[in-house]
Symmetry: C2
Subunit: 207 residues, 2 copies
DNA sequence: GTCTTTCGCTACGACTCGTAGCGTAACTGG
DNA sequence: CCAGTTACGCTACGAGTCGTAGCGAAAGAC
């Protein structure tokens, strides 16, 4: 269907060039002024080639941005606190890139009225990155920092909750508050998530 | 400047009609297909009237959505936990409305490339709602649930952090994970924020 | 009444959209 | 080597939206 085994094959270089051109265009002109014709010209391909591969710019932008998120990693730093802080900083640095912040919010906005686009975002971005939370939790349990989850479904709900809190806070900080995710903020967010608001001012947690 | 004291005054009813028409259009056609001509037709005014009052649809949509956020309240429910949970649920219900979720994300996306629009969002929406966090914190301190902040600047940073976490988590849950902010989730988020991840599984917090 | 500003309306060039049609290029199977 | 099939670049098209300009009429201020 998408790739019958006869005829001229689609150029993989064109794919890469189009996605790169999309990211470049997002940086320079932003979302609302990004046009398919502009992307095609930057990529050195015909406009019709874009429409043969993507239904519209929403889907194109999702694919163009998705690869950025695969750069996130979870190195084992020895403690849950350090692991969380590392991911927070990485995610903050990622969202600091203009092509990521602009595109991500715009696409999410469109997805509120487009079920299929929402699924595309979930499968290509969100679900792929939940691996960070599950891996961090597993390590923390092995170290004895966290009790084992009472059941599989409760564990899944916890994963979703933590993911929403971490990703949501970083996104909100970066895009709405428009302030940087620096080392200090990452540290304070981590402490809040681990020990909570009531214990956050405990002495000995010196800044 | 904005209102010289001579000449025909601007019609306040037109203002209200335009903002209402904008919200209605957001619900029916969404952000990307919202046009100024469409809004003007719905409001029963001329297209030129819109351009006399707003520079473009970004600014128009910000103003149209801002009033929705003023509905948020912080009733004194006796405990910090109950207060937080109440705000989480209210904010979740607000973001469940299609005109709010679509418009908010789209405008934030545009704001990543528009400094003035970013300021408009901050002054008309974000800063206005930080009152909820500061009021909740003050009450909690009066009850003895939280220690007083070590200093004014630390208090401001804490307010910003909590606001980013709460608002970000609700937004992410609603728009990215696309799952409802129900009573159970609101309760679990509140517990996470207050007591932290390490204490969240403590016995006796029975669901 | 006179002055000033807003209003509704129409019209305009410029731009983008998504599609269709054409000839050519690339690769497959007989 | 030669059809068959698909992708490609290019051009052109009607449709829709943009933001602005110009006009006469309406609504208050003085």
């Amino acid at each position: 269907m998408h790739q019958g085994r006869t005829g001229r094959p689609r150029s993989p270089e064109a794919d890469a060039a189009i996605l790169a051109a999309t990211r470049q265009a997002l940086v320079e002109v932003g979302w609302s002024r990004l046009t398919m014709g502009d992307v095609a010209a930057r990529a050195g391909v015909a406009k019709t080639t874009l429409y043969r591969r993507w239904p519209g710019r929403n889907e194109l932008v999702v694919d163009a941005v998705a690869v950025l998120f695969d750069e996130l990693e979870l190195p084992d730093l020895g403690t849950l606190s350090a692991d969380v802080e590392s991911v927070v900083r990485q995610f903050g640095a990622l969202l600091d890139r203009p092509e990521a912040k602009t595109a991500l919010m715009a696409v999410i906005a469109e997805a509120t009225r487009d079920e299929e686009l929402r699924r595309r975002i979930r499968t290509t971005i969100v679900d792929r990155q939940k691996r960070l939370v599950t891996a961090g939790r597993r390590r923390a349990e092995e170290r004895g920092e966290l009790p084992p989850p009472p059941g599989p479904e409760a564990a899944a709900r916890d994963t979703d909750l933590v993911f929403d809190v971490v990703a949501g806070a970083v996104v909100h900080r970066t895009l709405v508050s428009a302030e940087p995710v620096d080392a200090d903020w990452a540290h304070r967010l981590t402490q809040l998530i681990l020990t909570g608001l009531t214990a956050q001012r405990a002495p000995g947690a010196g800044a």
